[in-house]
Symmetry: C2
Subunit: 213 residues, 2 copies
């Protein structure tokens, strides 16, 4: 006697339910530790529909990837439309990434912390996607405009965004307990002004390292 308890059918369209269930599961357990049946159970959508919509497990992951990539592109477009210097644009991107990490953690985890190549072997790596190209081109324009110290584009771009991305990883891995948004100002300061104290560094005898638990 099926189809009886449909008093309150989920209003969301099927593909949305599938994708959001898949996102949660993929992030929680990793792509390879999630079966289509798991997605079925979590999304309450039948196996057949899942195959109809996405063609299979990899299809789900790919659709999710491009869907979220699109969100990232829109984020970049939004930043590009604001009236900001290139340096401020870099800061704005970092601020947005930090906010997303805190408020929409799974999205960031899936996009910045997963190894897509292991389950989407034919997709280009995310660092060669449009949003990342935009980030690098902002840095390049900043160098051209004299706002950012000139140099090897890869080195400069990595210095600009590397610290932030590192902190996102640490936060997602659970080793950092403080919300990223609280660290934003200090990170920006460190990154632009550098970490030197200014005073000459005196050579010291190395001391025994004390490794904090």
């Amino acid at each position: 006697m099926p189809y009886l308890n449909k008093a309150a059918p989920s209003p969301e369209p099927l593909d949305c339910r599938i994708l959001s269930a898949a996102l949660d599961l993929f992030v929680e357990r990793g792509f390879h530790n999630v079966s289509v049946h798991d997605v079925q159970r979590e999304s309450q959508v039948s196996i057949g529909s899942i195959y109809k919509h996405f063609g299979g497990k990899e299809g789900i992951a790919k659709a999710l990837y491009y869907h979220l990539l699109n969100e990232f592109e829109e984020m970049m477009n939004q930043v590009m439309e604001e009236d900001l210097s290139n340096r401020e644009r870099c800061n704005r991107i970092i601020a947005l990434l930090f906010e997303y990490t805190e408020s929409r953690r799974n999205i960031i985890e899936y996009m910045l912390h997963a190894k897509h190549r292991e389950f989407l072997p034919n997709e280009p790596p995310i660092c060669s996607s449009t949003p990342f190209k935009v980030m690098r081109s902002i840095v390049q324009q900043g160098m051209d405009a004299g706002e950012i110290r000139s140099g090897n584009p890869w080195v400069v771009a990595s210095t600009v965004f590397g610290g932030a991305i590192r902190m996102i990883h640490l936060r997602l891995d659970g080793v950092m307990e403080q919300p990223l948004t609280e660290c934003y100002d200090e990170l920006i300061d460190c990154m632009w002004r550098g970490l030197s104290t200014g005073e000459a560094v005196k050579r010291k005898r190395p001391q025994a390292v004390e490794v904090a638990g």
Copy 2:
């Protein structure tokens, strides 16, 4: 008619052959896309021996992980034994990581680029392992000694090593073609001195982004 073509038996001990075959395969295809039978074929060691030595697929991954973690710890010990300031120690670690990335790529890929949680769910994340603790404690000592600008330890440590780790990821993903060792000097300079040009940044109208292919 087996056991005939053993004219030149591999001199390496079994477990080494298993581990190095596994490392290559895991890095090339990802843990979940490698079967024990693949490891058997690649290492030329029988299934029985593989199970005898490591107890299974996960056992291989775990042994490999701790073996390489040990190499990292030795690398850190070596750096700690040299007569260097804390700042120089940070530089030295980055230089060593860059060299490893170029010359022993698979090791770095397995340790810094894989998602261990997906196949070793009970191991702590690598950023909470001893080598990373040592790196953070060096930064802390550098701050205490006035060699490194003081601040939130996570922020400062991420700024010190984030750029380097970011470049390693870019290199391993194949989007950066230049060897990392050639970028070392410039990265160190950017990181310590910051990316500001010094001159005041004039607010500019944003220009259309040109995204390079």
